[in-house]
Symmetry: C3
């Protein structure tokens, strides 16, 4: 039996030797390419969230650089006005948790559900942005700013932030 | 020749057109599913050790939070009583090495032997716990506590720890 | 039709039952092994650059340990002579960016081009070594040392480094 490359037609022969080496190599290349494409689809969302996380970390680093220039704190110094120290610590804290975030994102995305893991990853990145913004505002703001925005009480937040700033 | 979906029977025909599209799609889906399952098995232990590492990092972070409350060191401050500073530095040092640990774990587990890499990963996590406990106790304890427990000399360790604590 | 394990010959039969279970298992094992090998080839360069990055981080950590001994700054202290503080901050900064580097390396290498991503990774590791060397020399040197070496002006660099050291 002769199997041509299009697998379309077969012919009767008493002894048939399929041109197996050529078809097998083509078939395997085809399988490999298909599997690679399929695998990339299975991690594409996770990779997107990873890149968004990297961009966020870059944004935080830029804020520290601006704060260093504004508050005139040159490396290797890490002490200065409270405003600088809060931004510096906010960026360091976000950097500390970045590998933990990536580990959980990828393990959950590969072993359980890619879409759900990516969605939780986006929630985390948003929470981290709130944390950074709040911490840069006041030390308490790293938690308050996020909690109160969730509750939707902009008025209470304004009073709370003002009182915290006054106390510091 | 007609190849039915169970690949069980064949019929002779002069011109035969295999119902290749349907079978090929089913066959490929089956292969993809099988490969995905096989691949997940090949990294399951590494993922487990990764999660254990994340839990350990979370434990260290909680210890810092407790120490901040106990020693009354509010963010963004990182200076305070020696007890706080040791716990803080221990957690920072563990965080610094966490990405290095993950890189080595996964490269070794994927390219060489998953079981052995996972086992070494567990050893590392245990050593890190000893490091943190020792460092939280005394600055020298970040190494002593681990070395002496290995040597099994509990008496010498007690004397050593006492003398170190007395010197600090 | 009887398909033997070598796929070489076929015989005519009215009802043919392929010895599918045994061949399919062998075939799938073969496919799995081939795919695993193929996949490892597709990430081998990325893994190599990852290991080089880990070795570089280990080198930076060793420099901090030597600096601690030389400048007599014992843990948990992180303040001391400017020479120690620069080396300490250089190593901390490199550690902060290591997870970002790994994320970009692997996402670019898996989704775009392994060779190109690995090459850019090597450029980054070299730039990081220049950054560390420069920063250890002077605070300005973390950028100057790299920029001037690129311009190939060794003479200007010597004068620049001397003047910076004199100013600090
Ligand atoms: N953690 C960094 C974040 C921003 C950053 O990477 N800055 C660059 C350019 S100013 C740097 O070399 N920082 C010096 C350092 O980290 O000690 C910082 O404190 O500055
Ligand atoms: N490195 C952290 C570990 C624990 C942690 O993540 N603490 C939270 C809640 S107190 C925080 O926002 N820390 C502020 C900071 O890292 O500056 C620390 O020093 O506090
Ligand atoms: N960031 C580390 C880098 C080198 C390191 O890992 N040193 C070990 C041995 S001296 C250590 O336990 N450091 C204590 C610490 O990081 O607080 C440091 O500042 O020392």
């Amino acid at each position: 039996m002769y199997c041509d490359s299009s697998f379309g037609y077969v012919y009767q022969e008493e002894k048939i030797q399929c041109q197996k080496p050529i078809q097998l190599r083509s078939f395997l290349s085809f399988i490999l390419q298909l599997l690679r494409t399929n695998m990339l689809h299975q991690i594409a969302l996770l990779a997107t969230v990873t890149i968004l996380g990297v961009l966020e970390q870059a944004y935080f680093a830029m804020q520290v650089i601006y704060a260093r220039r504004k508050c005139k704190v040159s490396p290797p110094g890490v002490s200065g006005p409270p405003e600088f120290e809060r931004i510096f610590r906010a960026q360091v804290n976000c950097s500390e948790y970045f590998p933990i975030f990536l580990s959980l994102l990828w393990v959950a995305g590969v072993f359980f559900h890619q879409g759900l893991a990516a969605f939780c990853g986006l929630i985390y990145l948003y929470a981290r942005y709130q944390y950074f913004s709040g911490y840069a505002w006041t030390a308490q703001g790293r938690v308050s700013c996020f909690v109160q925005r969730r509750a939707g009480t902009k008025k209470v937040k304004f009073i709370h932030m003002t009182s915290k700033t006054a106390r510091e």
